[in-house]
Each structure stands twice: as structure tokens, then as C-alpha cells.
Amino acid sequence: TRSVGDGPADAGASAQQQVEATSGDASLCTPERYNGGVPKLDLKNVTVGFAQSEKEANPFRITETQSIKDEAARRGIKLITTNAQSDLNKEIADIQGMIAQGAKVLIISPLNSEGLDPALKAAQDAKVPIMTIDRLLTTKRACVDYLGWIGSDFVKQGARAADAMITATGDKGEVAILLGASGVNVTVDRTKGFKDQLAAKGSALKVVAEQTGDFTREKGRAVTEQLISANPGISAIYAENDEMALGAVAALKAAGKKPGDVKIVTIDGTRGAVQGIVDGWIAAVIESNPRFGPLAFQALEDFYADKGVPAKTIISDKEYTPENAKAELANAY
């Protein structure tokens, strides 16, 4: 047996998030500028709150929370955490609750790009700055509604997956897409990025099915079973996260397929998926690095040190391929 998602301990330094680009550098956010000014604090003397959005049921979330906790511990900062279990209202209540409990700074991983308004407002009223990670609050303003954002470019992840898919398949055949959870902007972006890129490249690949796998292994498996039963011609699968991809692998195995019969491209970079490349089941993994801790706390430090925080910090996500998978396996989470 192997427990999934307890990898970060032995990951090398290169596993940590690297900044690819920042934007909004012209007006870096500082306590004076933040929403009409917030008090300056010493992070060591205050409580920081972290609001996790989804169940810690997949390696991405496990690693994300752990990374925040580890970094807080490393820096000797007092941290409280909540988990909204994918319930938007609970995330709002969680954030308001943490403010009421005396958290002076917040790091939140928004459940979605919309809908956190009441929580943001409560934070504004209490003059509690919010650093956001992972999912971007698309319609809100940096340094007003929130301090800044660190995360991946999900559309680009999708586009890179398309590129990898074209390479893996030699640009021919039928592709099935395993969509992430419905109604989540990550799903929307990764789908858009993938399809747009295929179009842009004038790819000959044909998307024959798009079914939701809810970001879970079980659903990914069940759906793949049905899809390959109905379309034996499917020669490639684009899974919008690794869990679903691993479910798809299980389905292919059960159907008697051999590694490589169906090319799978996926996003996240979990250990299981990278191992899947090593084993020949998976063609490529586009990383979505969840180790937000160091960059997030660094941003807070920079904020209070008046160095300023850019509106957007986009991290550089790696790509795992058959060429580098074995070597990089230790860095996967």
C-alpha cells in the first residue's frame, strides 16, 4: 500500500514554487496603500488565518495546506486554519469566524473566482489584509479587495497540456476530456486553454467526449470505463487533474489495455501520476505546484516590510515527460 500525498518532506528545494512572472509591479501593495491603509504588524506577534476551500482529499490540497502550515512553523508564526469542504457559505463563515477570533492577516485559497464578497468585506471592515493563492478572484481588485495573488495560469496549463497531447499522439486520433468539477473556474480555464490551443495549432485531434470526473479518482475511472466501452477508437485522454488520470489508468488496465495504447495527458504533478509516466501509462503531466507556503509568507513579509507585493505572482509550473519523470519523481507531491 502507498499513502498518497505525504511526499513533500523528501522533495528537493527545486520542488518549491518558482516565480515565473509578476504583474502590477508599477503599484506594489503596501500597508499604506492597501484599501486606504491598514496597520503595520510584526507577523511574529499576530495570528495568521488560512482558509482552505476544498476537502483535503487529494494530494494537491493536502500538500497546499501542509506547505502553509510548515512555513508558518518554520517562521514561528501562529496559524489557525479552516476547511470549507467545498461549501462557499462555509468558507465565508470560516473567514468571518477567523477574523472574529482575532486573526490579523489571512491567506485564503478561494473556492471559486466569485462569491467571497461578504468575507472580503468583513476583512476590509476589520482592516485585515488578505493574500490569495491558487484560484484568482477575477472580478476583484488587488490591493483593494485583496492584497495580491499567487498561483498558476490555469489557461496556460490547459494549453501546455494540448501541446503535450499533440506531441504524444503525433497529432492524430480521438481525444476524450475528463473535466474537473463543474462550476469551478479551474475546470473552465483548463478546458478553454486546451481546446483553444488545439484550434490555434490547427490540430487534427478530434475531441469526441467531454465528461465530468469531478476531480476524483473514482469518477474518473467509472467515466473512462463507459467512454472506452462506447468509443473503442479513443486514443487519448486529457484529464484535468491527476486523480482522474489515475482513475482512467485503472479503467484502461481493467479493460486489458497496455501502457501507451491510450495516451494520457494530465495536470497537477502528483507522485502517482509521475510514477504513471515512468510506468508508461501516462504521456505527460503539466505541473500545478501547490507548495504555496514559502511564497505566500514571503509576500506577507514583503508587504509589512514596505517592499510591496505585486498584484499577480504567476508561478512557473514544470512539465513531467518520459524523459525527466524518473529523475523528477522525488519532486512530485
Binding site: 500500500t1 476537502k55 482529499a57 493536502i62 466501452s229 481493467a254
Partner: protein, 319 residues
């Protein structure tokens, strides 16, 4: 009142009775025909086998649910029980697959014991089992530290994916459970007791039947079957996934039972109908995915079919 009002049954009595008894078969037939004609690669042994394998855990859970519903109860905790079983397997695999399975099944029995105890004490089944729906999932996550654990055990894999004479083991298990349930209901004293408790609990009590023991037993059976379904699922996907194993399966199971013609009020159980109900729901999902319809469309179609099926049975089942 003494006799229920049965307006409308007078005229087309025969036809309506037929529909109410065979509505689910009719719906199944229609859906099957549709697929045979319009779904490419549907009529293959492999595809048929796939549908049966996928429905097996739901069917097993639904059979337990049918017995519970026969007593006038309901068991919302089955999904969480599956998760608990799944979470326990990797913890005890060190002692070998069979001890681990035994532990998982015992845990299912324990959950059933708590449910049954609460119901026998007089707590309404929905609330009693709602408690364990919430707490049970939490326990599973605590046990597994919230993580999915991959399992490479050949025995478990065989249970989940093996075949005997070309028939997958999960399917055989579902059929065996169905046969046992049907036999018990028909021939065993326990079956009569169960139906009497569901049909008129005070009467069963005054007839000297061990009402509480019957209730506890039924919930234990449901718990054990759910745990078995959890073991199957885990074996089949070679991973113990306490977060998602059995999530919302209670709704599928209840739907299968009710669509299969078992009244929620208790006092009557349809085993074959339950199997057919489960198969119907499975076929809807398969149809939707294989025709690449949207998830939202799938839900709306399911809703319509559920209502149509229970509408067809409304006179008989007295629901």
C-alpha cells in the same frame, strides 16, 4: 380510515396493476432498446459486463436498503459505512487480506448496530442514520488521515475485478445477496418478522415478535452489505479512498429500491425490482455518458424517469 381511497383504479384496474408491477421492467426495456439501436458498441458482452460490474456495489447496498425500507425505515449512513470499510482495509492489510476484510465487515456491522439500536430505541430512522452519515464519513477520514491509499493486494484486486466463468465476482456477489434476501423474505421466519414490523409495528409487538432484535438485525445487515460494497469498490479501484467512496450512494440506493416498487412505508419488499431499479439507474448514466450528454441533462433525465416510474406505481405501493 378503514380502506384507502383508491379512485381511478376501478376502470383500468388490470392495466394499472400491470404497470405498477412491471413499470420498472418496462422502463428498462425501453432504455435497453434505445441503446441497442442508437448506441454504438452497446450490444457487446464487454459492455454488458461493464454495466453489471459498475452497478454491483449500488445493487448490494440497495438490497440492504430494501430490507431496511421493508421495516419502514431508511439507512442514510450506507455511503459513510462504505468509506469506513475502505479506510480500514489498508490499516489491517498487514495481517493479510482476509483479516482486513473481516475487520471492515465487522465495522459495517458495528455501524449497523448503532443505527439499529437507535431506531429500536425509538429514534426516527432518517435522523438516526443521518448522524452516522455525517460522523461516519468523518471517522473514515480520521482513520485514513484524510488520504487516498493505493492498494496492491492481489486478493482484493481479485475480489474487485476477478471473474468466474466470465462473470465478474462483484456481479456474482450481488446476485448471491439478492438470492439470499429473496429466500429469507420468502421462507425464513426473519423475513416474515421484518415485514410484520414494517407493516404494523405495534401489532408485531403485541404478537410477541422480537421487534427490537428484528430492527437491529436489519440495520446490521445493511451495514454489513455496505461494508462489503466498500471492500468491492476498494478492490476494484486498487485504492482506498475514504473521501469519495460511497459518496451519495444512499440516494442511488433509495432510488433503486423505490423505483423497483418497494413502498417507502414498509411492509413489502421487492428484491428483483430493486435489482432492476439499480440497473435502470445505471443504464441511464451509461446512456448519458456514452452519448456524451451534459451532466446537467443527465440529472434532469434521471429526475423525469424517477417520477415516471413512481407515478406508474402509485396505486399499488401506497407511497
Amino acid at each position: 380510515m378503514t380502506e384507502p381511497t383508491v379512485a381511478g383504479r376501478t376502470g383500468a384496474a388490470g392495466r394499472v396493476t400491470w404497470l405498477s408491477d412491471y413499470g420498472v421492467y418496462l422502463a428498462l426495456g425501453v432504455l435497453l432498446s434505445f441503446n441497442l439501436v442508437f448506441t454504438p458498441n452497446f450490444a457487446t458482452v464487454a459492455n454488458l459486463r461493464l454495466q453489471l460490474v459498475q452497478v454491483a456495489p449500488v445493487a448490494i447496498v440497495a438490497l440492504g436498503m430494501a430490507l431496511v425500507i421493508g421495516t419502514g425505515g431508511i439507512d442514510l449512513s450506507v455511503g459513510s459505512t462504505m468509506a469506513i470499510a475502505a479506510a480500514l482495509l489498508p490499516l489491517y492489510l498487514g495481517y493479510g487480506p482476509w483479516p482486513a476484510i473481516a475487520v471492515a465487515v465487522l465495522a459495517g456491522a458495528a455501524v449497523g448496530l448503532v443505527n439499529g439500536g437507535l431506531v429500536a430505541y425509538g429514534i426516527q430512522p432518517i435522523v438516526a442514520t443521518l448522524g452516522l452519515l455525517v460522523a461516519g464519513r468523518g471517522m473514515a477520514l480520521v482513520l485514513a488521515d484524510g488520504r487516498l491509499v493505493e492498494i496492491f493486494d492481489p486478493t482484493l484486486a481479485a475480489i474487485g475485478g476477478g471473474q468466474v466463468l466470465e462473470v465478474p465476482l462483484p456481479v456474482l456477489m450481488a446476485l448471491a445477496v439478492a438470492a439470499a434476501a429473496a429466500f429469507v423474505l420468502r421462507c425464513a421466519a426473519f423475513g416474515r418478522r421484518l415485514l410484520a414490523v414494517g407493516g404494523n409495528r405495534p401489532a408485531a409487538l403485541l404478537a410477541g415478535l422480537p421487534v427490537r432484535r428484528t430492527l437491529v438485525t436489519v440495520y446490521v445487515i445493511s451495514g454489513v452489505l455496505a461494508a462489503m460494497a466498500g471492500v468491492l469498490t476498494t478492490g476494484r479501484q486498487s485504492a482506498s479512498d475514504p473521501s469519495f467512496t460511497g459518496l451519495l450512494i444512499e440516494l442511488s440506493a433509495i432510488t433503486a429500491v423505490v423505483v423497483g416498487g418497494t413502498p417507502l412505508a414498509g411492509g413489502r419488499v421487492r428484491i428483483l425490482g430493486t435489482l432492476m431499479g439499480a440497473l435502470l439507474m445505471q443504464l441511464i448514466i451509461a446512456t448519458v455518458i456514452q452519448h456524451d450528454l451534459h451532466d446537467s441533462t443527465a440529472r434532469m433525465i434521471q429526475a423525469a424517469i424517477i417520477v415516471a416510474a413512481v407515478y406508474a406505481q402509485r396505486n399499488r405501493s401506497g407511497t
